[in-house]
Symmetry: C2
Subunit: 207 residues, 2 copies
Protein backbone atom coordinates (compact mmCIF):
# COMPACT_ATOMS: atom_id res chain seq x y z
CA UNK A 1 0.00 0.00 0.00
CA UNK A 2 2.81 2.38 0.95
CA UNK A 3 4.59 1.58 -2.32
CA UNK A 4 1.46 2.35 -4.29
CA UNK A 5 1.00 5.63 -2.46
CA UNK A 6 4.64 6.47 -3.05
CA UNK A 7 4.37 5.73 -6.78
CA UNK A 8 1.20 7.80 -6.99
CA UNK A 9 2.87 10.69 -5.18
CA UNK A 10 5.96 10.41 -7.34
CA UNK A 11 3.96 10.46 -10.57
CA UNK A 12 1.79 13.29 -9.28
CA UNK A 13 4.81 15.33 -8.19
CA UNK A 14 6.50 14.67 -11.54
CA UNK A 15 3.43 15.93 -13.36
CA UNK A 16 3.57 19.10 -11.31
CA UNK A 17 7.23 19.70 -11.92
CA UNK A 18 7.49 18.80 -15.57
CA UNK A 19 4.11 19.52 -17.05
CA UNK A 20 0.56 20.32 -16.20
CA UNK A 21 -2.40 18.49 -14.69
CA UNK A 22 -5.73 18.21 -16.50
CA UNK A 23 -4.58 20.67 -19.14
CA UNK A 24 -4.59 23.60 -16.71
CA UNK A 25 -1.45 25.72 -16.79
CA UNK A 26 0.53 25.55 -13.57
CA UNK A 27 2.30 28.47 -12.02
CA UNK A 28 4.16 26.46 -9.39
CA UNK A 29 7.84 27.10 -9.02
CA UNK A 30 8.75 24.28 -6.64
CA UNK A 31 7.63 20.65 -6.47
CA UNK A 32 4.63 19.66 -4.37
CA UNK A 33 6.00 18.00 -1.21
CA UNK A 34 4.69 14.59 -0.15
CA UNK A 35 1.46 15.00 1.84
CA UNK A 36 2.93 13.16 4.83
CA UNK A 37 5.66 15.80 5.14
CA UNK A 38 3.14 18.12 6.78
CA UNK A 39 5.46 21.02 7.62
CA UNK A 40 7.04 21.27 4.16
CA UNK A 41 3.68 20.78 2.51
CA UNK A 42 2.10 23.60 4.52
CA UNK A 43 4.98 25.96 3.76
CA UNK A 44 4.80 25.05 0.06
CA UNK A 45 1.06 25.75 -0.08
CA UNK A 46 1.42 29.14 1.63
CA UNK A 47 4.47 30.12 -0.37
CA UNK A 48 3.00 29.18 -3.78
CA UNK A 49 -0.31 30.94 -3.12
CA UNK A 50 -0.85 34.62 -3.76
CA UNK A 51 -4.28 35.12 -2.21
CA UNK A 52 -6.60 33.69 0.40
CA UNK A 53 -9.56 34.55 2.58
CA UNK A 54 -8.70 36.53 5.70
CA UNK A 55 -11.23 36.11 8.47
CA UNK A 56 -11.99 38.51 11.28
CA UNK A 57 -14.76 39.06 13.82
CA UNK A 58 -17.19 41.59 12.36
CA UNK A 59 -18.01 44.53 14.56
CA UNK A 60 -20.59 45.65 11.99
CA UNK A 61 -22.55 42.40 11.72
CA UNK A 62 -23.07 41.30 15.31
CA UNK A 63 -19.78 39.51 15.82
CA UNK A 64 -20.23 37.30 12.76
CA UNK A 65 -17.10 35.67 11.31
CA UNK A 66 -16.30 37.81 8.27
CA UNK A 67 -14.14 36.48 5.43
CA UNK A 68 -12.56 38.80 2.89
CA UNK A 69 -10.50 38.05 -0.22
CA UNK A 70 -6.96 39.40 0.23
CA UNK A 71 -3.60 39.11 -1.44
CA UNK A 72 -0.62 38.17 0.69
CA UNK A 73 3.03 37.20 0.59
CA UNK A 74 5.34 35.37 2.97
CA UNK A 75 8.53 36.42 1.18
CA UNK A 76 10.28 36.55 -2.14
CA UNK A 77 9.31 33.72 -4.53
CA UNK A 78 10.66 30.41 -3.14
CA UNK A 79 12.16 32.29 -0.20
CA UNK A 80 9.03 32.59 1.90
CA UNK A 81 9.38 32.40 5.68
CA UNK A 82 5.87 31.14 6.37
CA UNK A 83 4.43 34.28 7.99
CA UNK A 84 1.80 35.90 5.75
CA UNK A 85 1.94 39.67 5.27
CA UNK A 86 -0.94 41.77 3.95
CA UNK A 87 -1.44 45.29 2.58
CA UNK A 88 -4.71 46.57 4.01
CA UNK A 89 -6.64 49.80 4.45
CA UNK A 90 -9.09 50.59 7.24
CA UNK A 91 -11.53 51.67 4.49
CA UNK A 92 -12.10 47.91 4.32
CA UNK A 93 -13.83 46.09 7.23
CA UNK A 94 -11.08 43.47 7.68
CA UNK A 95 -8.42 45.91 8.88
CA UNK A 96 -10.84 47.89 11.04
CA UNK A 97 -12.20 44.67 12.59
CA UNK A 98 -8.66 43.56 13.43
CA UNK A 99 -7.91 46.83 15.20
CA UNK A 100 -10.84 46.06 17.55
CA UNK A 101 -10.35 42.28 17.87
CA UNK A 102 -7.14 40.66 16.62
CA UNK A 103 -8.54 37.12 16.43
CA UNK A 104 -8.17 36.07 12.82
CA UNK A 105 -7.48 33.26 10.38
CA UNK A 106 -6.21 32.96 6.81
CA UNK A 107 -7.63 30.20 4.60
CA UNK A 108 -5.97 28.99 1.40
CA UNK A 109 -7.02 26.32 -1.07
CA UNK A 110 -4.68 24.33 -3.30
CA UNK A 111 -7.49 24.37 -5.84
CA UNK A 112 -6.56 27.90 -6.87
CA UNK A 113 -3.04 26.74 -7.77
CA UNK A 114 -4.48 24.50 -10.49
CA UNK A 115 -2.79 21.37 -9.11
CA UNK A 116 -5.94 19.54 -7.95
CA UNK A 117 -6.99 18.63 -11.46
CA UNK A 118 -10.56 17.37 -11.52
CA UNK A 119 -10.55 16.53 -7.82
CA UNK A 120 -13.32 18.40 -6.00
CA UNK A 121 -12.14 21.41 -3.94
CA UNK A 122 -13.68 19.81 -0.80
CA UNK A 123 -11.96 16.45 -1.38
CA UNK A 124 -9.27 16.01 1.32
CA UNK A 125 -6.57 15.26 -1.28
CA UNK A 126 -6.98 18.79 -2.69
CA UNK A 127 -5.14 20.52 0.13
CA UNK A 128 -6.45 23.33 2.29
CA UNK A 129 -4.85 25.21 5.12
CA UNK A 130 -6.10 27.65 7.73
CA UNK A 131 -3.59 29.60 9.79
CA UNK A 132 -5.23 30.83 12.99
CA UNK A 133 -3.78 33.67 15.04
CA UNK A 134 -3.70 37.40 15.62
CA UNK A 135 -3.81 39.98 12.83
CA UNK A 136 -1.43 42.82 13.73
CA UNK A 137 -0.29 46.10 12.18
CA UNK A 138 3.45 46.07 11.42
CA UNK A 139 5.16 49.28 12.51
CA UNK A 140 5.89 51.21 9.29
CA UNK A 141 9.60 51.95 9.83
CA UNK A 142 10.60 48.54 11.17
CA UNK A 143 12.83 45.99 9.41
CA UNK A 144 9.85 43.64 9.47
CA UNK A 145 7.82 46.18 7.45
CA UNK A 146 10.68 46.61 4.97
CA UNK A 147 10.87 42.82 4.47
CA UNK A 148 7.08 42.68 4.11
CA UNK A 149 6.88 45.47 1.53
CA UNK A 150 9.54 43.79 -0.63
CA UNK A 151 7.72 40.44 -0.27
CA UNK A 152 4.34 41.97 -1.10
CA UNK A 153 5.40 44.27 -3.96
CA UNK A 154 7.44 41.49 -5.65
CA UNK A 155 4.48 39.11 -5.66
CA UNK A 156 1.84 41.81 -6.23
CA UNK A 157 3.51 44.54 -8.32
CA UNK A 158 0.38 46.68 -8.67
CA UNK A 159 0.19 47.21 -4.88
CA UNK A 160 3.02 49.73 -5.10
CA UNK A 161 0.75 52.05 -7.09
CA UNK A 162 -2.36 51.74 -4.92
CA UNK A 163 -3.81 55.13 -3.85
CA UNK A 164 -1.80 56.83 -1.10
CA UNK A 165 -5.00 58.45 0.16
CA UNK A 166 -6.27 54.99 1.22
CA UNK A 167 -3.45 54.69 3.78
CA UNK A 168 -2.58 51.07 3.09
CA UNK A 169 -0.53 49.55 5.89
CA UNK A 170 1.37 46.32 6.34
CA UNK A 171 -0.29 43.72 8.58
CA UNK A 172 0.86 40.25 9.51
CA UNK A 173 -0.73 37.15 10.95
CA UNK A 174 0.96 36.03 14.16
CA UNK A 175 0.23 32.30 13.80
CA UNK A 176 -0.92 30.40 16.89
CA UNK A 177 -2.55 27.27 15.41
CA UNK A 178 -2.54 25.45 12.08
CA UNK A 179 -5.34 23.43 10.50
CA UNK A 180 -4.33 21.60 7.34
CA UNK A 181 -5.95 18.76 5.41
CA UNK A 182 -3.97 17.37 2.48
CA UNK A 183 -4.93 13.68 2.48
CA UNK A 184 -7.50 11.30 3.94
CA UNK A 185 -7.66 10.88 7.72
CA UNK A 186 -8.40 14.35 9.05
CA UNK A 187 -6.23 17.38 9.82
CA UNK A 188 -2.47 16.82 9.92
CA UNK A 189 -0.87 17.29 13.33
CA UNK A 190 1.43 20.28 12.84
CA UNK A 191 2.81 22.75 15.38
CA UNK A 192 3.66 26.37 14.57
CA UNK A 193 7.28 25.63 15.44
CA UNK A 194 7.45 22.69 13.01
CA UNK A 195 5.83 24.87 10.34
CA UNK A 196 8.17 27.82 10.79
CA UNK A 197 11.29 25.64 10.76
CA UNK A 198 10.36 23.30 7.91
CA UNK A 199 12.99 22.54 5.31
CA UNK A 200 11.69 23.56 1.94
CA UNK A 201 11.88 21.43 -1.17
CA UNK A 202 14.33 23.06 -3.57
CA UNK A 203 13.47 21.20 -6.79
CA UNK A 204 12.83 23.81 -9.47
CA UNK A 205 9.94 23.27 -11.82
CA UNK A 206 10.22 23.67 -15.55
CA UNK A 207 6.65 24.81 -16.17
Amino acid sequence: MKTRVFIFNFLFASALVFGSVQGRPLLLSTARPRPDDAASFARWLVSQSSWGVLNTISSEWGGAPFGNVVSFSDGLPDKGKGVPYFYLTTLDPTASNALKDQRSSLTISEYSLGSCGKTDPENPTCAKITLIGKLEVVEGNSKDAEFARTALFTKHPEMKGWPKSHNFQVYKLDIENIFMINWFGGPKPLTVDQYLHAKMNKITATS
Copy 2:
Protein backbone atom coordinates in the same frame (compact mmCIF):
# COMPACT_ATOMS: atom_id res chain seq x y z
CA MET B 1 -16.14 58.67 -18.66
CA LYS B 2 -19.31 56.58 -18.63
CA THR B 3 -18.83 55.81 -22.32
CA ARG B 4 -15.28 54.67 -21.70
CA VAL B 5 -16.40 52.49 -18.82
CA PHE B 6 -19.15 51.05 -20.98
CA ILE B 7 -16.76 50.27 -23.83
CA PHE B 8 -14.34 48.67 -21.39
CA ASN B 9 -17.11 46.58 -19.89
CA PHE B 10 -18.41 45.59 -23.31
CA LEU B 11 -14.98 44.49 -24.52
CA PHE B 12 -14.32 42.71 -21.24
CA ALA B 13 -17.68 40.93 -21.32
CA SER B 14 -17.11 39.96 -24.96
CA ALA B 15 -13.77 38.46 -24.08
CA LEU B 16 -15.46 36.41 -21.40
CA VAL B 17 -18.21 35.16 -23.64
CA PHE B 18 -16.27 34.47 -26.80
CA GLY B 19 -12.79 33.60 -25.71
CA SER B 20 -10.46 33.63 -22.80
CA VAL B 21 -8.61 36.26 -20.80
CA GLN B 22 -4.82 36.20 -20.39
CA GLY B 23 -4.65 32.74 -21.92
CA ARG B 24 -6.41 31.10 -18.97
CA PRO B 25 -9.23 28.76 -19.91
CA LEU B 26 -12.62 29.98 -18.79
CA LEU B 27 -15.34 27.75 -17.46
CA LEU B 28 -18.04 30.42 -17.41
CA SER B 29 -21.37 29.52 -18.90
CA THR B 30 -23.08 32.93 -18.83
CA ALA B 31 -21.78 36.41 -19.56
CA ARG B 32 -20.32 38.55 -16.77
CA PRO B 33 -22.98 41.16 -15.89
CA ARG B 34 -22.06 44.85 -15.78
CA PRO B 35 -20.54 45.69 -12.37
CA ASP B 36 -23.17 48.39 -11.76
CA ASP B 37 -25.93 45.78 -11.96
CA ALA B 38 -25.05 44.66 -8.43
CA ALA B 39 -27.80 42.09 -7.92
CA SER B 40 -27.24 40.24 -11.22
CA PHE B 41 -23.49 40.46 -10.76
CA ALA B 42 -23.66 38.93 -7.28
CA ARG B 43 -25.92 36.11 -8.47
CA TRP B 44 -23.62 35.46 -11.43
CA LEU B 45 -20.55 35.25 -9.20
CA VAL B 46 -22.24 32.84 -6.77
CA SER B 47 -23.76 30.73 -9.52
CA GLN B 48 -20.55 30.38 -11.57
CA SER B 49 -18.42 29.49 -8.55
CA SER B 50 -18.08 25.98 -7.22
CA TRP B 51 -16.17 26.61 -3.99
CA GLY B 52 -15.52 29.25 -1.38
CA VAL B 53 -14.41 29.77 2.20
CA LEU B 54 -17.10 29.10 4.80
CA ASN B 55 -16.53 30.90 8.08
CA THR B 56 -17.74 29.92 11.51
CA ILE B 57 -16.91 30.85 15.10
CA SER B 58 -14.41 28.30 16.36
CA SER B 59 -15.32 26.63 19.62
CA GLU B 60 -11.92 24.92 19.62
CA TRP B 61 -9.75 28.00 19.18
CA GLY B 62 -11.16 30.55 21.62
CA GLY B 63 -13.92 31.94 19.44
CA ALA B 64 -11.58 32.74 16.54
CA PRO B 65 -13.16 33.20 13.11
CA PHE B 66 -12.42 29.90 11.36
CA GLY B 67 -12.47 29.75 7.56
CA ASN B 68 -12.66 26.40 5.79
CA VAL B 69 -12.54 25.56 2.08
CA VAL B 70 -15.87 24.06 1.00
CA SER B 71 -17.69 23.21 -2.20
CA PHE B 72 -21.20 24.54 -2.66
CA SER B 73 -24.02 24.91 -5.15
CA ASP B 74 -26.99 27.24 -5.43
CA GLY B 75 -28.78 25.14 -8.07
CA LEU B 76 -28.39 23.45 -11.41
CA PRO B 77 -25.92 25.18 -13.76
CA ASP B 78 -27.37 28.55 -14.83
CA LYS B 79 -30.47 27.86 -12.75
CA GLY B 80 -29.09 28.83 -9.37
CA LYS B 81 -31.43 30.50 -6.89
CA GLY B 82 -28.77 32.37 -4.95
CA VAL B 83 -28.88 30.37 -1.71
CA PRO B 84 -25.69 28.33 -1.23
CA TYR B 85 -26.03 24.69 -0.13
CA PHE B 86 -23.20 22.63 1.34
CA TYR B 87 -22.50 18.96 2.05
CA LEU B 88 -20.75 18.80 5.41
CA THR B 89 -19.81 16.30 8.10
CA THR B 90 -19.44 17.03 11.81
CA LEU B 91 -16.06 15.26 11.59
CA ASP B 92 -15.00 18.67 10.26
CA PRO B 93 -14.96 21.70 12.61
CA THR B 94 -17.13 23.90 10.35
CA ALA B 95 -20.30 21.84 10.76
CA SER B 96 -19.76 21.22 14.47
CA ASN B 97 -19.06 24.94 15.04
CA ALA B 98 -22.31 25.84 13.25
CA LEU B 99 -24.33 23.51 15.45
CA LYS B 100 -23.11 25.53 18.47
CA ASP B 101 -23.19 29.01 16.90
CA GLN B 102 -24.94 29.55 13.55
CA ARG B 103 -23.22 32.87 12.75
CA SER B 104 -21.38 32.32 9.49
CA SER B 105 -20.22 33.78 6.19
CA LEU B 106 -19.28 32.44 2.76
CA THR B 107 -16.56 34.24 0.79
CA ILE B 108 -16.00 33.82 -2.94
CA SER B 109 -13.42 35.37 -5.25
CA GLU B 110 -13.86 35.97 -8.96
CA TYR B 111 -10.14 35.27 -9.26
CA SER B 112 -10.79 31.53 -9.08
CA LEU B 113 -13.06 31.77 -12.15
CA GLY B 114 -10.08 32.88 -14.24
CA SER B 115 -11.83 36.04 -15.42
CA CYS B 116 -9.64 38.58 -13.58
CA GLY B 117 -6.70 38.12 -15.95
CA LYS B 118 -3.58 39.72 -14.54
CA THR B 119 -5.52 41.97 -12.19
CA ASP B 120 -4.48 41.38 -8.58
CA PRO B 121 -6.97 39.33 -6.49
CA GLU B 122 -7.23 42.24 -4.01
CA ASN B 123 -7.91 44.81 -6.74
CA PRO B 124 -11.55 45.96 -6.43
CA THR B 125 -12.24 45.24 -10.11
CA CYS B 126 -11.58 41.53 -9.48
CA ALA B 127 -14.88 40.87 -7.75
CA LYS B 128 -15.36 39.36 -4.31
CA ILE B 129 -18.47 38.61 -2.37
CA THR B 130 -19.20 37.63 1.21
CA LEU B 131 -22.66 36.35 2.13
CA ILE B 132 -23.23 36.76 5.87
CA GLY B 133 -25.92 34.83 7.72
CA LYS B 134 -26.78 31.68 9.60
CA LEU B 135 -25.50 28.21 8.67
CA GLU B 136 -28.32 25.71 9.17
CA VAL B 137 -28.84 21.97 8.74
CA VAL B 138 -31.48 21.21 6.12
CA GLU B 139 -33.91 18.52 7.27
CA GLY B 140 -33.00 15.38 5.29
CA ASN B 141 -36.45 14.45 3.94
CA SER B 142 -37.56 17.95 2.97
CA LYS B 143 -38.10 19.26 -0.57
CA ASP B 144 -35.36 21.78 0.18
CA ALA B 145 -32.90 18.93 0.84
CA GLU B 146 -33.96 17.18 -2.36
CA PHE B 147 -33.34 20.39 -4.37
CA ALA B 148 -30.01 20.85 -2.60
CA ARG B 149 -28.78 17.30 -3.24
CA THR B 150 -29.56 17.61 -6.96
CA ALA B 151 -27.83 21.01 -7.04
CA LEU B 152 -24.78 19.72 -5.17
CA PHE B 153 -24.38 16.36 -6.91
CA THR B 154 -24.78 17.92 -10.39
CA LYS B 155 -22.03 20.45 -9.73
CA HIS B 156 -19.88 18.12 -7.59
CA PRO B 157 -20.45 14.58 -8.93
CA GLU B 158 -17.96 12.92 -6.60
CA MET B 159 -19.96 14.00 -3.52
CA LYS B 160 -22.49 11.27 -4.21
CA GLY B 161 -19.84 8.66 -3.49
CA TRP B 162 -18.42 10.20 -0.30
CA PRO B 163 -18.25 7.76 2.63
CA LYS B 164 -21.66 7.07 4.21
CA SER B 165 -19.92 6.53 7.56
CA HIS B 166 -19.01 10.25 7.63
CA ASN B 167 -22.70 11.20 7.82
CA PHE B 168 -22.57 14.08 5.38
CA GLN B 169 -25.62 16.32 5.68
CA VAL B 170 -27.01 19.19 3.65
CA TYR B 171 -26.53 22.67 5.16
CA LYS B 172 -27.56 26.04 3.79
CA LEU B 173 -26.63 29.63 4.45
CA ASP B 174 -29.64 31.72 5.41
CA ILE B 175 -28.36 35.05 4.04
CA GLU B 176 -28.85 38.17 6.17
CA ASN B 177 -26.30 40.60 4.71
CA ILE B 178 -24.24 40.90 1.54
CA PHE B 179 -20.80 42.45 1.12
CA MET B 180 -19.65 42.71 -2.50
CA ILE B 181 -16.90 44.70 -4.16
CA ASN B 182 -16.73 44.51 -7.96
CA TRP B 183 -15.46 48.00 -8.91
CA PHE B 184 -13.86 51.07 -7.40
CA GLY B 185 -15.75 53.00 -4.72
CA GLY B 186 -16.31 50.48 -1.94
CA PRO B 187 -18.90 47.77 -1.36
CA LYS B 188 -22.00 47.84 -3.58
CA PRO B 189 -25.25 48.60 -1.77
CA LEU B 190 -27.27 45.38 -2.18
CA THR B 191 -30.13 44.00 -0.11
CA VAL B 192 -30.84 40.29 0.31
CA ASP B 193 -34.21 40.84 -1.35
CA GLN B 194 -32.63 42.50 -4.41
CA TYR B 195 -30.11 39.65 -4.59
CA LEU B 196 -32.66 36.85 -4.36
CA HIS B 197 -34.94 38.42 -6.98
CA ALA B 198 -32.30 39.52 -9.50
CA LYS B 199 -32.93 38.80 -13.14
CA MET B 200 -30.14 36.68 -14.47
CA ASN B 201 -28.31 37.33 -17.72
CA LYS B 202 -29.19 34.57 -20.16
CA ILE B 203 -26.47 35.08 -22.78
CA THR B 204 -24.80 31.73 -23.29
CA ALA B 205 -21.05 31.68 -23.63
CA THR B 206 -19.28 29.74 -26.32
CA SER B 207 -16.19 28.91 -24.28
